[in-house]
């Protein structure tokens, strides 16, 4: 019975939680445009040939170890690679060219999302979205929990596991120091095919739109990164469906941090409701205990009193009976005495009639 009360309360909480947890994104009327004039990069995968010059430039600028396999060794594309602590960007080959189907290449790196998951999940706020556009990381507060890596939908973050005292989360920085100097990110400057264009994000969207309009047979009619999960700074054009490039085709426009929001909103409510609720139950159960204790005492007292009463009654009845018996005895005696007196009188009368 008491279990069902707890379950009932659990049910109430569940109901409340469900009400809040179901698509908060649907309920959210808020829209955030982000910082105006922020920069972005446009990657036209129809132009990429997999030369990996961008990888080389990135490693140079970030003082990273050189390519493991030389750029002309195409066997590197046999396996899908991901960014690592030694390579902040990688180019992968999709739809391996065998016969008719031409190979497609895409460069992969941190997308510098408009609403970055990494920033949202970092419990020490080590990430920030700068007004200029790049997402930056502050190693001076990082604890190394790696939730950011777990959360990043693009698997773009890496950790320096081999460092003991100062391991950092590392990734493409969009060459932020260079940008501050007015220069373009290294990858965009060295690409021999012009597959990477650097500029204001809103202008690049227009550039991408123009390319699609001018050559509709070349491109899939979609700019990836414009809206997906709230949009990214890196925009992509492709001649093949985006899911063939391991990109989330048809992804929701809702920023992923919005999904955490549904749970986080419940927290302050639990903090304010639970104390009252629990204290109430505590008071209720204490009172119930007190009442049942009082009731017990009352019952005992009553039983004792009843026992008392009954004994009294028995004594009274016995006394009454005894009294009645006595009365009867007395009456009998009186009657007897009277009878005897009468008899004696009658005899005396008989003896003395004159």
């Amino acid at each position: 019975m008491i279990f069902s009360r707890r379950r009932f309360l659990g049910g109430v909480a569940a109901g409340a939680g469900a009400l809040v947890a179901t698509p908060a994104q649907g309920a959210s009327h808020l829209h955030f445009a982000g910082h105006p004039g922020r920069i972005g990069l446009l990657h036209d995968t129809t132009l990429c040939v997999g030369c990996r010059s961008c990888e080389v430039a990135c490693k140079q600028v970030n003082s990273l170890p050189p390519l493991v396999r030389p750029a002309d060794d195409k066997s590197v594309f046999d396996k899908k690679r991901r960014p690592s602590d030694k390579s902040y960007t990688v180019v992968n080959r999709y739809r391996a060219g065998a016969g008719k189907t031409p190979a497609v290449y895409r460069k992969h790196q941190c997308m510098h999302c408009n609403e970055p998951c990494c920033a949202s999940v970092c419990f020490v706020k080590a990430f920030s979205k700068t007004p200029e556009g790049p997402v930056l990381y502050d190693p001076s507060v990082c604890v190394g929990c790696r939730y950011c890596m777990t959360a990043c939908p693009y698997n773009a973050l890496s950790y320096e596991y081999d460092k003991l005292w100062d391991p950092r989360v590392v990734r493409c920085t969009m060459c932020y120091p260079r940008i501050k100097q007015g220069k373009a990110p290294a990858c965009s400057t060295v690409c021999p095919m012009g597959a990477i264009t650097y500029g204001r994000r809103d202008e690049l969207l227009q550039v991408a739109r123009n390319r699609i309009d001018r050559r509709p047979n070349r491109y899939v009619n979609h700019i990836f990164g414009e809206h997906e999960f709230g949009g990214t700074s890196w925009l992509f054009l492709s001649g093949v469906p985006f899911k063939e490039l391991d990109l989330h085709e048809g992804a929701s426009h809702t920023p992923l941090p919005e999904l955490s929001k549904s749970f986080l909103s419940v927290v302050p409510l639990v903090l304010t409701i639970w104390p009252g609720l629990l204290l109430g139950i505590y008071a209720f159960s204490k009172r119930k205990e007190k009442l049942s204790q009082a009731e017990l005492e009352q019952t005992v007292a009553r039983v004792l009193a009843e026992a008392d009463e009954q004994t009294k009654k028995k004594l009274a009845a016995a006394a009454q009976r005894a009294g009645k018996d006595k009365e009867r005895a007395v009456a009998l005696a009186v009657k007897k005495a009277l009878a005897e007196a009468e008899a004696t009188a009658k005899e005396a009368d008989k003896e003395d009639p004159k």
Partner: protein, 391 residues
């Protein structure tokens, strides 16, 4: 208190030898971790980058925390709902809970890149948008709360009367605070994955995942109390005051609670499927794996508990509790490792590295030994002779 017969036995029991071996190698692995970084214990390659959370987080933390929920469940039952018949299992439950959380934090300290910075989310910079921020705060506060709840036992052992009085006076407040914290961090552990819908399989991913983790934690806590009370009764006989009849009575009562908790869990999981309209996934191989977890390790123990309660069979209830515990572990591992990043190539997914696995086991062993140390010395399963009439 009569002299314990175990005191005269040698330390070289088979259990101790195995425990010693596990701890010794574990200490070596811990040394590697702190001399060569996490790479020294296997965090190398693409899998460490795409699957950053391994055994220490996914097992020691994500499984350890729900299995330590017995403290808050029994505390609530006895102090808030006034169910005095479970009074005797509150202290052991709080002990197990406290040890569980403590060693989950130990595992965490081994796993994070800069463990000396673990207090940072508390005192340096606040990432309030993060669910992990909540987990960090709550686990830290909850550990302290559990210590306050357990401290009467410690003070009895040390015979610090006045400290004990204070501790007992704040007991109810500590329990309430503990329930608030537990509600939030048990569900927060599930909510960590709300932001990764592209990585967790649709059958496990749900906006209700926090609720799933919370309800299953309640079931887990109850089952751990069932198991611990039975194991203590058997392996620490001379320290346990409870009679077998009383234990069986309590076990049956707890079995009833566990049955209800699991029934609720089953129902909300099914509702979760309906909500996400993910029925069609059930036909796939992964769907079968999901059904195994849901039917074999949640619904089945629920039924077994019910049968055990009705037929008054404590042994059946204990087996059901063991099954449930395995189910909790399976569920947490499914969410964080087994069905995580399913669409990535194999070399980017979780890989077993013996060093990390051994370290994980060594932490568990250390927890077991700590439990044994406490039960052997402190008035956990029996009343302290000086405080026999007080509670």
């Amino acid at each position: 208190m009569t002299e314990s017969p175990t005191q005269s036995k040698s330390l070289l029991t088979p259990f101790n030898l195995v425990a010693g071996l596990i701890l010794a190698v574990g200490a070596y692995v811990a040394f590697l971790r702190f001399s060569s970084g996490l790479a020294g214990i296997g965090a190398v390659g693409d899998s460490a980058q795409s699957q950053p959370w391994g055994m220490l987080i996914s097992f020691n933390l994500m499984c350890g925390v729900p299995l330590s929920a017995g403290g808050f469940v029994m505390g609530t039952a006895v102090y808030i709902f006034g169910m005095k018949q479970y009074r005797l299992v509150v202290r052991p439950a709080v002990l197990v809970g406290m040890i569980g959380y403590f060693f989950a934090v130990v595992a965490l300290l081994m796993d994070v890149g800069r463990p000396w910075r673990l207090p940072y989310p508390m005192v340096v910079q606040y990432g309030v948008t993060s669910v992990l921020f909540l987990v960090a705060w709550h686990v830290a506060l909850y550990l302290s709360t559990q210590f306050v709840e357990f401290s009467p036992a410690v003070f009895e052992w040390l015979n610090w009367k006045r400290w004990r009085k204070v501790a007992v006076a704040v007991a109810v407040g500590a329990v309430i605070f503990g329930v608030i914290l537990s509600t939030l961090h048990q569900s927060a552990l599930g909510a960590l994955f709300l932001i990764t819908p592209t990585k967790v399989h649709p059958l496990w991913y749900s906006p209700f995942i926090g609720l799933f983790f919370f309800v299953s934690a309640i079931a887990a806590g109850i089952c751990m109390v069932i198991l611990e009370s039975a194991l203590a009764h058997r392996y620490f006989r001379e320290k346990v005051e409870m009679t077998t009849e009383h234990l069986d009575q309590i076990t049956i009562g707890l079995g009833k609670a566990a049955s209800i908790a699991l029934a609720v869990y089953f129902a909300i999981k099914v509702i979760g499927i309906a909500h996400g309209n993910t029925w069609h996934y059930l036909a796939s191989p992964i769907g079968h794996w999901f059904l195994l977890e849901l039917l074999g390790f949640s619904l089945l123990p629920c039924v077994l508990f019910a049968a055990g309660v009705r037929e008054r069979r404590p042994r059946l209830i204990r087996w059901a509790a063991g099954l449930t515990v395995l189910g909790i572990i399976l569920n947490r591992l499914n969410v964080s490792i087994i069905t995580f990043n399913l669409n990535l190539p194999a070399e980017q997914r979780f890989q077993f590295h013996w060093k990390e696995v051994w370290l994980s086991l060594a932490v568990v062993m250390a927890a077991v030994l700590t439990y044994r140390w406490a039960v052997n010395r402190m008035p956990v399963h029996h009343k302290h002779p000086l405080y026999k009439t007080v509670h």
